[in-house]
């Protein structure tokens, strides 16, 4: 059993294994997303308060959830890489960041679009979750900028790991402050999930979307981690053999 994990951490084995697993994760993920999209758009009944606009929940909630999950993945693997000095863990952190940033952006955009018919404005500072998402986006930018600014791979890995961990500790505090801050205003109509009660026909597509996007994230992550591993191992034998199999001497 342990040999399995040991081999997993070995870069050439990981590289190969990740490639094999990729379709097994991506395809079910896409299938769930397809079902969730169809059901969310056409099967789920109309919401009492928000009419058809509530359907945006089926993309907004998964993207917001993904933005958080990507950050957690980033922070945890960064921590593992820092403490146990596993290069693979650092590779996972580096791979998760751009995906997380995109989904944070998506969460903000869908949240803003959803808000337009609900609040009448494209942005509502009074919604604490939207504001927290914005700050999360800046955390991602900082992480990516720091990585980009450091040339040495190992230094970049470990510096950004410290940043990711500090950021992770701050996220609940940030969320708390923003909630307190928005509660001081007359409460803007918060974008509430599905209205007073969420029925099963509304819930199932949402669950499907959340699971589907999780799998999608896992698949894209796997692909990116493979590339990160390749980049970090570029000088090793196994990479050379793989890319230039005919290593014949002149």
């Amino acid at each position: 059993m342990w040999t399995f994990f040991h081999r997993l951490a070995s870069p050439p084995h990981f590289y190969e294994l990740a490639n094999k697993i990729y379709p097994w994760i991506m395809v079910p993920g896409l299938a769930l997303i397809a079902y969730g999209t169809y059901a969310g758009l056409f099967v789920a009944p109309v919401d009492y308060q928000q009419k058809d606009a509530f359907r945006i929940i089926y993309v907004h909630v998964p993207s917001a959830y993904l933005s958080m999950m990507a950050y957690m993945t980033m922070a945890i693997s960064a921590g593992i890489g820092l403490i146990w000095r596993m290069k693979l863990a650092h590779a996972v952190a580096a791979a998760a960041a751009p995906i997380g940033a995109w989904f944070t952006f998506l969460a903000l955009m869908t949240g803003s679009i959803w808000g337009r018919p609900m609040w009448g404005t494209w942005w509502e500072w009074g919604d604490p979750r939207l504001t927290s998402e914005l700050i999360l986006l800046f955390l991602y930018f900082g992480y990516l900028a720091l990585r980009g600014a450091i040339d040495d791979q190992s230094k970049a890995d470990r510096s950004s790991a410290v940043l990711a961990l500090v950021g992770a500790i701050n996220i609940p505090i940030i969320h708390f402050s923003v909630e307190w801050w928005s509660s001081l205003h007359q409460g803007a109509t918060l974008v509430r999930e599905g209205g007073p009660a969420i029925t099963t026909d509304m819930l199932y597509p949402l669950l499907a979307m959340i699971f589907g996007f999780t799998l999608f994230f896992g698949a894209v992550l796997l692909k990116r981690v493979r590339t990160e591993v390749l980049a970090r191992e570029r000088r090793s034998r196994w990479v050379q053999k793989m890319i230039m199999p005919l290593e014949g001497r002149a």
Binding site: K51, R55, S63, L106, K223, L230, R234
Partner: protein
Amino acid sequence: MEALAMGDYGVYVWSSFGLTLAVMIVTVWQARNHQNKIYREIEQRLKAMEEVK
């Protein structure tokens, strides 16, 4: 057509879903691009080393 209208909220709903699809495509495309770029870099470096020999 009723589906398209989405009770007057069509623009909002469809643009949200469209954006989501776009982001999904971008992330996969970006991952693939990144992979190709690194692969080519390594390949070129190895080729250059071969020629030096």
